[in-house]
Symmetry: C2
Subunit: 433 residues, 2 copies
């Protein structure tokens, strides 16, 4: 503290001699900020800027002072001034980017992170922020999904059957443009595909151009709810295709997007791909899953009390672990996209018969898409484990529980249109154990 | 809009007849809010509350209005009033929890999510918020780490050698209490272990109690920087142990925590476990990694343009994928915790000789801990793949690149004490290709 007081005193003395020195006011403001005198600091920095409106360091220091006080909009304005007067300041661009991200202004945040790296190529926080932003645009499952042969073949077969020469095809969620190009290949006259993420839309446009489909496939960089027939679509489409389903099926506002499309954009004759979808569940266990999700005896200590604080729902990221299904798969929720127009939230109770003996960790959840009358596709744990891009989720029991054939587990299942949830209500021992 | 206008008109007319009806003012305020008349809405809701300060619905609706306007502190106060007057409102508790989380008040947020579930056991958003909070407290790697036999054995061996009867042992990061109990088992007189997360500290205290070590092991629910010798520690410890290393080694402010402990709490005689650590890298490739990280030709379309937007750093979550190392492992950064007192940021350049032919996806990063002179532990990709709790990271090349033995890759490596980063600068073809 002593050093800061000394600094404040010496800058003040310097200002007695040269009261018009913007630099001295700026330095005084910084020292006042560091010693916690926020309002004095703000006054000093604003005085500096009134004397020299182009003093970039004072803009930056004022912005940092405002940021510390959670005055986000004012801080953004000051960082903008700092970056304008001092474009080589990686720190100004980076701090501005983080605040813009807080305000969900992702595109501008990205460009300031890039400006930070232009100014300083080894500025690690900007590298990291760009990677984190890219991870929101292209999550870890995205590339494996594009390389998922079974998924691609299923959509290809369904589109091959549905699309006829002259068809108009509408897609929500362009991604790489793969499904849209398939529709074009099978003879569609016009394919309109909308993509809410600007960065993905740009990449898809480039992919489509480089494959020679720009004349047929049009990428509209908008959310589906902004699409209008007559403006973006020539007419109601013959085929509607979408693959915006999350691992829980219901993420990304999929139900409200499809409801809106059916109400405003599709006709009763439009073929919807997938025609229906299910949220699937089964009781699941096995030693490998137990060790991945729960602790018991470790080095002759009993760590079980720690199990009380593990998350009650977890993505099963370790696709290599063997899983043991302890019940038949069950379609907990069904969504008929072809025939129905809306899908309200639901709550159900299931009595699930146990089909084998084993240590159960909880309820496994995956999804199933029925693309048309002939092709279905699911990331069931028994089929193609390790090769699907959708992650399965586990809803955990409080502790691993030994189940035996003919026991019955009562499960409360609910979804609120955005997320499913599963809770074990009761266990009835009908086995001989 | 017409319906809202009608509602506003009819509530206004009702208020002409009964101007003291708090309910009518509240309903009018809600309708005004929904039609976008924010300041009229606020006036109506505040009038309702001045007439009936206990009208919970008006508190809730005012809170929601304030939340929509990003007036977070005011919204929190109003939700608190709503929850107090209407404890059965799951939505009030839940909304309050989300705002408290925004303000990093995690403990109170958690208790309001729980109150939401007490009020409504199937209120899915609260289940989900609690699981997400728990995931921050106990990340996916935590349970596998506790069950990581090789890690546990390494720490057990090192503690067995270091701890003597009468030792004072200090640990940063209690976790489940496992390492602290090991130290107690090997004869420590006092083990003091600090844990910044309150929920983890409580669980560890229960684990330690149930194993009968409460007399020896004391969990202090504080950040290490709040610990004081004479208050929390009887004296400078004989042994200092910590396992707060992230997958990149440097997360969780590990360097500043150890620097602070060495400056204030340890003595030159204190044995530090681990005595040193490395951030390890190697060039990495293989077909499975290529398909997981990049797209190429899919269904006879060329999707390569999409590779421009994939994240430049990714955790390698698929531990089952075979990886091919294309260089010898390299200790990019070393941290001598026993002998040094501080570790500033570093920037280095490495010329890495390619040791085999293959398609390279980028730079793989893992960590290595040297616990004492005898025991080391690392999550190298060649050893124990699939069984470590630390995730390896990949810093991606722009595209998969064919490398051949004797090529040289120039890598820029930097860390800023919180995060490492690696960038390929140049490729020199010394192979015959």
């Amino acid at each position: 503290m002593g050093r800061l007081d000394d600094a404040i005193r010496s800058y003040s003395e310097a200002l007695d001699l040269a009261p018009d020195s913007a630099h001295n006011w700026s330095n005084l403001g910084l020292a006042q900020h560091e010693s916690g005198q926020y309002s004095d600091a703000e006054h000093s920095l604003r005085t500096a800027l009134s004397l020299d409106p182009g003093l970039a360091m004072a803009h930056h220091n004022l912005a940092w002072l405002l940021q510390r006080q959670h005055r986000v909009d004012e801080a953004i304005a000051s960082y903008r001034s700092a970056a304008r007067h001092m474009p080589g300041s990686a720190q100004s661009h980076y701090n501005l980017g983080t605040l813009l991200e807080q305000k969900d202004n992702v595109d501008e945040a990205r460009s300031h992170y890039r400006a930070a790296l232009d100014a300083s190529p080894t500025f690690i926080p900007a590298h990291r922020a760009l990677a984190d932003l890219a991870l929101r645009t292209v999550p870890l499952w995205h590339v494996p999904m594009m390389n998922d042969v079974a998924r691609n073949r299923a959509y290809q077969n369904a589109l091959n059957r549905a699309v006829r020469p002259g068809s108009v095809v509408f897609e929500i969620g362009t991604g790489s443009g793969l499904l849209a190009m398939m529709a074009a290949r099978y003879g569609a006259e016009t394919v309109v595909t909308c993509e809410a993420d600007q960065i993905v839309a740009q990449a898809a446009t480039e992919v489509i151009r480089s494959n020679g489909y720009s004349a047929t496939v049009q990428v509209v960089p908008k959310h589906s709810q902004e699409m209008v027939v007559g403006e973006h679509l020539p007419r109601s489409p013959d085929v509607f295709v979408s693959e915006i389903f999350s691992s829980e099926l219901l993420g990304e506002h999929v139900l409200s997007s499809i409801e809106d499309a059916k109400r405003r954009l599709l006709s009763p004759q439009t073929q919807v791909i997938p025609q229906s979808a299910n949220i699937m569940i089964a009781l699941v266990g096995g030693d490998a899953l137990c060790d991945n999700l729960f602790v018991a005896d470790v080095c002759e200590f009993d760590l079980r009390a720690f199990n009380a604080i593990v998350p009650k729902r977890q993505p099963l990221v370790r696709e290599d672990l063997p899983v043991q299904l302890l019940s038949d798969p069950l379609a907990a929720f069904s969504f008929d996209f072809q025939s129905q127009a809306s899908w309200p939230g639901e709550t159900k109770i299931f009595d699930i018969p146990v089909t084998g003996d084993g240590k159960c960790v909880g309820i496994l959840q995956w999804i199933r898409l029925q693309l048309d009358d002939e092709v279905a596709f699911e990331n069931a744990p028994t089929s193609r484990a390790g090769s699907s891009s959708w992650t399965r989720s586990i809803y955990l029991f409080p502790e691993p529980t030994s189940l035996y054939r003919r026991d019955v587990v009562r499960v409360l299942a609910a979804h609120n249109r955005n997320c499913p949830w599963f809770i074990v209500e009761d266990l009835t021992r009908l086995s001989d154990q």
